[in-house]
């Protein structure tokens, strides 16, 4: 609260309002304590923890194989990348070799997941700004991705689609063709969203110069993923520390210039195209071979600890696992969730903006409360 | 006959609402009664075959000015400590002075015979909008223009007060 500001002529009070945890656009159970001067936000305190389920502690009492299923439930709109981050961390800790075909399948799945997650982001973000139609368009295409996932692993939301050391199942017959067909459909639909938003005067006025964060500030506050890249920082785990089959893929990392909400929108929109490019390459170059490496029955990694990060749709998703070498469950299990880190930038982003912008800014950092609270 | 009944109902309502305006405890309620009062006055105008005046009464007074009252009442915190309201001697003197002024005014009206019905004009044409317009822009042009300049000055003054750094 600012107290050193000169008092206005009339005695005006700051209005303190609670946004959430039951609020239609806090994307779950986020609670914001907003101090308003008129409609302008003076300060914003996010209150989290309403969806805390103790995933980390729970994991320390489960087998390594059982934890895959728990990771599904963190970022529940991007379960496949959660799985990927976890299994790769265990593989790194254990020193397991993953067959090339499995790594390709993982790449396809995680890029499909990125498309699905970004579609949901695009829809909800636009809906928060009042453009409801984009939400429905986004859900329409996301449905196609979910169908692909359903055909691959049988689930539509919590996939449990990866195993330590490889993939549980091979791709179904004809699945690769469907994936390519989806890529074509999605490519055609992208201009539809752009037509509704990119050039729209109202959308531009709502997003340009709103929530600007400079590259230095973005790094300092620990932003990751598309919001960081929209500020012009070249950081993509897929390029910097390649995992799965990303070193064999050719793709660009879109960067923003202004670091505002509009640039974050443009960056994610370009990521759609890059994801489709990666999916096409991976499907067409899918190698033959086994899908499961040599993995012991009981996974009991040697004593030690490791950290491994991947580029989840929302940013850098890292897992830290410490093993005591004796038990079949981690001694310490810690997640570095991108939503949580990006949420930290929110108070800085909303300061000085209007209440209506708070909604736009919650949308633009793309958080999932399941992942923030774990 | 019917007109007389309607008039007395309207008049009673006007006086009743007027009394409520000054006796209501909540300022917002007062403002509301004021709106009702204005609407009844508009009804009187309709009975006088002055629909233009009636509509303007509703539009400007009930629809415009009182909305601003309401804004001010809602936005400015009126919950002052009670003693600020009650300085009995000061308020008493003010009240007596104002009542005396009104009395003198009434006396003057009756004595000078202004309350007599207007003799000129005769039957009003049903379309008296044009008559009002003609009167405003010919006989009363100067007062009309002066009033508009006055409003303009008030408007500029308000803007200057609100935005000093402009």
């Amino acid at each position: 609260m600012q107290t050193d500001a000169p008092r206005p002529m009339f005695d005006t009070d700051e209005l303190v309002i609670n946004m959430g945890p039951q609020h239609p656009s806090t994307h779950g159970v986020l609670r914001l304590i907003l101090r308003l001067d008129g409609e302008r936000v003076v300060s914003c305190d996010p209150v989290i923890g309403y969806l805390h389920r103790g995933v980390e502690k729970l994991s320390e009492n489960r087998d390594y194989t059982q934890i895959v299923l728990l990771t599904d439930r963190m970022d529940y709109v991007a379960a496949a990348t959660n799985n990927l981050g976890y299994v790769e961390t265990v593989e790194k800790l254990y020193g397991l070799e993953v067959p090339r075909r499995a790594r390709y399948i993982r790449t396809i799945l995680s890029e499909l997941q990125r498309v699905a997650s970004h579609l949901l982001w695009l829809g909800t973000h636009a809906a928060d700004l009042g453009a409801l139609t984009v939400l429905l368009f986004g859900l329409r295409e996301r449905e196609l991705v979910l169908d692909l996932f359903e055909e691959y692993c049988g689930a539509r939301l919590t996939y449990n689609a990866m195993r330590i050391g490889g993939q549980p199942v091979d791709v179904p017959v004809g699945w690769d063709k469907k994936v390519l067909a989806f890529c074509d459909v999605q490519e055609q639909k992208l201009p539809e969203y752009e037509q509704l938003l990119t050039g729209n005067r109202i959308f531009m006025e709502r997003t340009k110069a709103v929530g600007v964060i400079s590259a230095a500030d973005a790094v300092a506050v620990g932003l990751c993923g598309p919001p960081l890249r929209a500020s012009g920082v070249y950081r993509d785990v897929r390029k910097d520390e390649p995992y799965a089959a990303y070193e064999e893929m050719e793709f660009d990392v879109p960067l923003g210039v202004a670091g505002d909400t509009y640039d974050r929108y443009l960056v994610r929109l370009e990521e759609f195209r890059q994801s489709l490019r990666i999916i096409r390459q991976a499907v067409q170059g899918l190698p033959e071979g086994p899908i499961m490496g040599k993995v012991p029955r009981l996974i009991k990694p040697p004593a030690g600890e490791t950290y491994h990060a991947i580029e989840a749709p929302k940013g850098e998703l890292g897992y830290f696992i410490a093993s005591d070498g004796k038990s079949a469950s981690p001694y310490r299990f810690r997640v570095r969730p991108p939503s949580f880190c990006n949420l930290q930038a929110l108070p800085q982003l909303v300061k000085g903006h209007l209440v209506a912008d708070v909604v736009a800014l919650i949308g633009t950092i793309d958080i999932v409360l399941g992942e923030v609270d774990r | 006959m019917a007109e007389a009944v309607a008039f007395y109902i309207c008049a009673a309502l006007i006086l009743g609402f007027g009394a409520l305006v000054i006796t209501a405890k909540s300022t917002v309620h007062s403002v509301l009664y004021l709106v009702a009062d204005f609407l009844c006055v508009a009804a009187l105008y309709v009975m006088l075959q002055a629909p233009f005046l009636a509509v303007i009464q509703v539009m400007v007074y009930a629809g415009g000015i009182v909305v601003l009252y309401l804004f001010v009442v809602m936005l400015v915190n009126l919950k002052r400590p009670p003693e600020a309201h009650s300085d009995p001697r000061r308020l008493g003197r003010l009240g007596v002075a104002m009542a005396a002024a009104v009395l003198v005014e009434f006396a003057a009206i009756f004595a000078l015979g202004w309350a007599k019905p207007a003799s000129a004009g005769g039957a009003l044409s049903p379309n008296n909008v044009e008559q009002i317009g003609r009167a405003l822009y010919t006989d009363y042009l100067i007062p009309f223009e002066v009033a508009s300049v006055l409003l303009l000055v008030a408007m500029i003054g308000a803007i200057v007060l609100a935005k000093r750094e402009l």
Partner: protein, 339 residues
Amino acid sequence: MVEALILPLVKIVIVLVAVLVTVMYIVLLERKVQAWVQVRLGPMRVGPHGILQPLADVLKLFVKEDITPARADKWVFTAAPIIVLVPALIAFAVIPFAGDLTLFGLTIPGRIADVNVGLLYVISVAGIGIYGIILGGWSSNSKWALLGSLRSSAQLISYEIAVTMTLVTVIMLAGTLSMVGIVQAQLAKGWWFGFMQPVAFFIYFVGALAETNRAPFDLPEAEQELVAGFHTEYSGMRFAFYFLAEYANMIVVSTVATTLFLGGWLAPFPNVSWLSFLGLVPGWAWFMLKTFGFLYAFLWVRATFPRYRYDQLMRLGWKWLIPLAILNVVVTGLLKVLV
């Protein structure tokens, strides 16, 4: 007796029922149109293609619990929805729905009343509706509702100025304030005023969107930001009143637009002889058609555009629409004098 008392009463009942039924079905139409735009089906369960959905909605609102929040100003809280609804309904008194009809040897004017200040009446009555919104938000004793109501009333007052300015140009062209007179003036000129005053028509359309709290100006009830704005705390029938009033207001502005800019009950191009077969369609049908066309534009806009932010909305109103409307008045006046 028949002409003085019974006929107006019958007409009032007809108009009221027609308006209320239209409101019910506008809601359904809105859901359907939006659904079609958004590759959905919309309501499909109640009746074939959901045509009985409005009845179900009304029934639901009737039986819902009507909650008054703790520490709310009870009387004002109850009165506010009524204050919103009544002006929306009585505005229909001066709308000319059709020309004169002849029935059983009786000439029936196709309107409830033809007041010589009809247009001013509509404006002033619309101004009263603002009270319901301010008071509803204030009396709910809720910060969200208060914010919503302040936004809403500021928005309504700002855009009313621009809209009224556009009406001035129409009055200048028609030379009358009577709604019937304005339609007759369009017949005499041979052009709908919408063609003669495209700028005014455009400003009126934008202002109408803002005055009825419709997208992209639906800030007062921006559900993503303020939950539901001034009627956050309302439920049951009192909420239904707000809802009714909003849609009734949509119909009011559409009928006013039809009368002022689209030639009211006239068939298109009434003085082009080879199009005279269009006159076979009765006037009220033309009126309905035009009104629904205008209403459809409301729904279409809602399905397409994002929402303006509060300050942007104010800037648009004060820095663009109002100056443009005033300029339009000046230009119209100049043309009237010069040409």
